[in-house]
């Protein structure tokens, strides 16, 4: 029990004291995950919409792949990105291994399928409802996609936030490709892993609490957005 008591006290002290190291780590975590989610969204929204709306050979396979990829094991993703970005790998010349960019790449790969699959679902549902209207008024494909994305924006935002939740809570991939370098690639989750390995369980748990607070806030935001949309637009 003392570990838990200490953890809460540690978390409280870190937060209240605005510990500069903690602030740096939390900021870096947010920056990396936001960048990853933004990049993933830029890919996933058109991809999800395309899979929802276009009929092309192999479409079913893409849907299955996207759904399966929602559960990609982070460690495997980390390893693959590691091998790609290593100087000995095909993308080695960019020298990206053990940089925040590598972590963004890994998180982006982890999160992209989640956002794409949820986008596909959202757009499919909405399209089913709007299809006859859009065809009736002669909306072209671009206008139709624009209408669906705009009217699905709250659910799409929820999808993006779901991706963000996964990105910020992930440890396996970013540890491998980032190297957990202090001040450079050390984020909340890798710090928790490190402090655990140093036997500083209270500090690790304290950081864990902060991570949970951040993740819960994001989830709460997602729910609030969803509910607001529901009550406004049905």
């Amino acid at each position: 029990m003392t570990d838990f008591v200490n953890a809460f006290r540690t978390a409280f002290e870190l937060i209240v004291g605005l510990d500069p190291e903690l602030v740096r780590i939390v900021t870096l975590s947010l920056q990396i995950s936001l960048a990853a989610v933004l990049a993933a969204t830029v890919i996933a929204l058109p991809l999800g919409a395309a899979v929802a709306l276009l009929r092309f050979p192999g479409r079913r396979a893409v849907v299955i792949l996207l759904n399966a990829a929602m559960g990609l094991p982070p460690v495997v993703v980390g390893l693959v990105v590691y091998l790609l970005l290593s100087r000995a790998g095909p993308l080695g010349s960019f020298g990206l291994l053990f940089t925040p960019t590598a972590m963004i790449v890994a998180q982006c790969i982890l999160v992209m399928p989640i956002i794409a699959a949820l986008t596909r679902q959202t757009i499919t549902d909405l399209h089913e409802e709007y299809d006859e209207y859009l065809r009736s008024v002669g909306a072209g494909p671009l206008r139709s996609i624009g209408t669906l994305i705009r009217d699905g924006r709250f659910r799409l935002l929820t999808a993006v936030l779901a991706g963000f939740g996964r990105a910020i809570a992930e440890v396996g991939a970013v540890l491998i490709v980032g190297g957990n370098i202090q001040n450079v690639t050390r984020v909340m989750t890798t710090t928790i892993a490190l402090e655990t390995s140093k036997g500083n369980l209270a500090l690790a748990l304290g950081l864990g609490l902060i991570l949970i607070i951040v993740a819960t806030t994001i989830n709460g935001l997602a729910m609030a957005v969803g509910e607001a949309a529901e009550s406004r637009h049905g």
């Binding site: 900021t27 870096l28 947010l30 920056q31 990396i32 936001l34 960048a35 933004l38 290593s86 100087r87 000995a88 790998g89 080695g92 010349s93 020298g95 291994l97 053990f98 940089t99 925040p100 960019t101 963004i104 924006r153 935002l157 190297g179 957990n180 370098i181 202090q182 450079v184 490190l194 655990t196 390995s197 140093k198 036997g199 500083n200 369980l201 935001l221 957005v225 607001a228 406004r232």
Partner: protein
């Protein structure tokens, strides 16, 4: 309710967090080197003590990737680090011989100790022969937590078992527990199940979750743990920052660097001993 605001707010938040974010992420432009090293040097706090002095003097930032010795060597062999700083002499010499590194500098040493439950069911407390202590643990069928991760500590442990003429891997899963993890994680495991373990002294002193564990065996010359530092070969990997990397090595070997290593204390105890005092 203002709808524009409702939609714009999340986007604005996203943008505001991201803009400084991307610039921060790109702040790679300052001179820095990547050092592949071991958890013992990082987790013991030594780097946290040494590096600011070096950076202040030279303006070169040092980024430490702390993993097991075996993995650190593989990172360097892929050219993903500029400097290798580990503790397994044979592997280090092979690294240089095979052309991956320029030269091995003997920078410092510390020592390994055997820790175990305070009750010491195998009765090894105070033994001066580390191999005999391991044999006693094996004969008593008492749990032993092994790194089993190809680290320098793990390599040392294997050599001690060999000296005791015991192959513990046959008992893997019974009294011999292979964690496949770093030093800290292995100590956590040992602490939780009352097992013996081999650890470097620095990590042990700094370890925060000792629980029932105590230091039982130390002082055997075979527990000597030398660290070497090697510049990754710029001939083999043209992108290696040879000048900055060599500057780091030169500083470590200099009087200032050596004094600083000697001055480092964990809980008032010296943890590393310089080997290159000029």
């Amino acid at each position: 309710m203002n709808r524009t605001l409702f939609v714009a707010a999340p986007i604005l938040v996203l943008g505001l967090t991201l803009l400084p974010g991307l610039s921060g992420v790109r702040a790679d432009e300052g001179a820095y080197i990547t050092v592949a090293s071991t958890t013992s040097t990082e987790n013991s706090g030594l780097f946290g003590y040494l590096l600011p002095a070096f950076t202040e003097k030279t303006g070169i930032e040092v980024r430490v990737v702390a993993v097991g010795t075996g993995q650190a060597i593989r990172i360097a062999m892929n050219g993903d680090a500029d400097v290798l700083f580990v503790h397994h002499r044979e592997s280090e010499e092979r690294f240089v011989d095979e052309g991956y590194g320029v030269k091995r500098y003997p920078v410092m040493h510390n020592d390994f100790v055997i820790v175990g439950p305070a009750t010491d069911p195998a009765g090894i407390r105070g033994m001066e022969d580390a191999a005999a202590a391991l044999a006693a643990i094996a004969n008593a069928d008492q749990p032993f937590a092994s790194r089993a991760d190809d680290s320098g500590t793990h390599k040392k442990e294997i050599s001690l078992w060999a000296a005791a003429d015991i192959d513990p891997t046959g008992a893997s899963g019974s009294w011999y527990r292979e964690t496949g993890s770093g030093m800290g994680a292995t100590l956590n495991t040992a602490s939780a199940m009352g097992a013996y373990a081999l650890t470097d002294r620095g990590t042990w002193i700094k370890f925060g979750n000792k629980g029932d564990l105590q230091l039982l065996v130390e002082g055997d010359p075979r527990l000597f743990n030398p660290y070497g530092v090697i510049l990754v070969s710029p001939d083999r990997f043209p992108h290696v920052k040879a000048r900055e990397g060599q500057a780091f090595i030169d500083w470590l070997m200099s009087e200032q660097g050596q004094q600083r290593i000697a001055a480092y204390r964990i809980d008032g105890q010296p943890a590393f001993f310089p080997d290159a005092v000029p």
